[in-house]
Amino acid sequence: MSDVPAALPASAPLPASATVVVVGAGVTGLSAAWWLARSGVDVVVIDKGIVGWEASGRNGGGASHYQSPLFAEEQRLWPQMDELLGYPTEYQRERIIIQRDAALLDHYRAVGRMCSAMGYRVDDLDSAQAQAMVPLTDATCLGGIHLRFGGHANPQRTVQAYAWALQDLGGRIVQHCAATGFATAGGRVTGVETARGTIACDAVVVAAGPQAAALLAPIGIDFPVTAARAEMIVTEPAPLMPIGGVDGNGLYGRQTLRGNLAFGGGPHEWIATTGDGPEARPASPLIRSLARRVAEMFPRAAHLNVIRSWAGIVENTPDGRPILDRVGNVTVATMSGVGFGLSPASGHAIRDLVVDGECSFADIAKLGLARFADLEPDWREQRGWAAQAADTGLAA
């Protein structure tokens, strides 16, 4: 199994100290560390596995989250990221959403008008226009919308680009080294504890995805986040479409620059994770329902072979909105399921929280922990988000 390192590292000694320790080398933690390093902060990132091994390296690569206060900054940054980082992310601009169901098309037209009103331009496409823009569909496509904003990038490549860019600025990354707890003194975190020792620090950023809840509870921070499994499939390459970011028919995803169609969507499964992370990331026969919807959306690609599927573990907060906040010298961050696209900006916001105590470019007050002050302990059960117990599963 690939998750087990092939051999133990000839491990470099654990850094004794850093100004800031970031827990979690997903896109959120790595972008934050990169932004901190750009400001000259001495930063160490630690991860229980390798960079991007959870959701950050397994997602749809979509970047078009208009609802976020960080979106304008994200939009400003993405087109520059390859240059800023020095490594390719495969970023491509714009998106199209097509539909073959009249009610869904109407709904998305309305979403498009809302985005346009927010200043993010969306054009309607009739069936002929949609077919011209999306050559893999056919006349069953009733039309769509063309987002003149947003885009998509390659998840693992982007994660690695952040990691390398961080190292180029002198930041350090320690892989296969889980945070097990925090050393505290006088109500402040003074160090991050690991099985290999403690890293002393002035401040800490916790960007540990769904595992953040267990990590933060012992220091009195209630961080409501829970885990679910989401799945994707990928086909062999198809001829390149003018815009690769095509969604619709219940799916999100992208055509990679190589031509592969990578799509996800549909039901998820709420799962338990321990502090060590998910026990496995299996895909299910859901891939057949994904294949069906891809075949319906792209009838001209229906003959293409599906060559892989995978699953990733997604973090969700009770309202599905990010948490970006600072408690003492602990900055906590999760993007609640839409963290890849927003990562150039989320890192900037986290850097600002760590260094300046507030975000310099957007109002993020409504993303704080205060909104959960009255959250019931059984918020997962109330939403039907609790993981099934092993013995209730219908026998194998």
Binding site: S68, P267, I307, K366
Partner: protein, 459 residues
Amino acid sequence: MTVDVFDLTGKIAPPEARYDVVVVGAGSAGTAAAIEAAEGGRSVLLVDENPVPPGMMGTDVPLFYGGRMTAAAANPARMVEAIFAANPLLETAFDAGVEVLLGTCAWGLYRNGPAMRTLPGAMLGLADADRAWMVGYGELVLATGARDVVLGFPGWDRPGVMGAQALYALLTRYEALSTRRVLILGSDRLALETALLARAHFIEVAGIVEIGDTVRAPAELVAHVVAAGITIHTGTVIARAEGGIDGVERAVLLRDGIEIVVAVDTICLAIGTEPATELLDASGPADAAIRLVGDCAGSGSDRAAIAAWSRAIGAVAAPETIVCQCEEVSRADLLGVQPPRYLDRPIALAARSLATLGHDGPVDPDQIKRLTRAGMGACQGRRCRTQVACILSEASGLSVNPATYRAPVRPIPLKLLADWDEVAAMAAGWDVWFGIPTQWTPYAKIGTDDEAVGGNMHV
């Protein structure tokens, strides 16, 4: 308790059919297991992917055929006859009441476990030329055999470079091998038996190549080969395959710095085999309901010998030698952990390599796969995953596993894999993302009277 309508629970249909025993692989071990189970009074399904659709064979699925099939391989009816002729036990299985499905591959194994609790039972995904479906089992017997260890040398992407298992299958199961003159790489039992088999089918064997100074196979087998007048080149490595539009025309060998040119239309890799366990690899460890029989239960060939071959080839192969045919990844690209050619390679990337990645901790084959794309292609990495692991191990000094398999472990067309008869709950509980309406509220509207949401607004 509240139910999340967008949760997977209740949306995966139970398997279409259920058997006491499902056997995958109708070779001798699988057929025997099926017969035994049926004679014990159990309901048994025996599936085998052969005859494989000709298009699949062309992309080396599931074996490394190297394009050396005759036109006969494109005639499924003839192929079914050939398969029955090659395995008389299949008749016995029929008579014993085994349901036998040829031309049917198993592409996915699904079981409940720590991160998946909602399946209505363990199930196996099957597909033939017309449709895909799921079957349940009481016991699953995997008799999926072994596949060739493929190591790439310059020119290995030409038609005519193939594996010993593929050669064996084309000769004996399909009677559809186009080879006339073959050079065999390796000197283990596998290599020598392949040479004798080819001879027995009136294929000329131009030689056997061994990198070491001694032949590895047992003496009496060597004696047979020598008696048959087959040359064994020891201390020799393959430098390249050369040829034209129809593929390989000659092999160029290297011994003590001197090139030896051998005219052949086929170069057969008989360096080693590995168990074909991708169904399990993609699904997780075996459980009490799963049994492996035959070659897939073995441990495969001596890894040290394979590694030695890989090093010997690596010593003479130029950096631009292709490692991954599907994605055209060269040795240099792999060792440099460079992105595919359609991406820019900015200056900073030149300073990055497997070595620098190794400083961050042990290299992970799947990480390198995603960065270089080696093993990400249409053949699903079957052709290159072992050689990639060998090259990464050599370069890093660590023992790097091959990259993981993912379901479907056979390429299956979208329209065929598609579930066109989903349970109603699937469509009813389908959302693009999680179906959490508050997720999409534009920030400015949070906490205002306008917060009321308009359904899923994922873009």
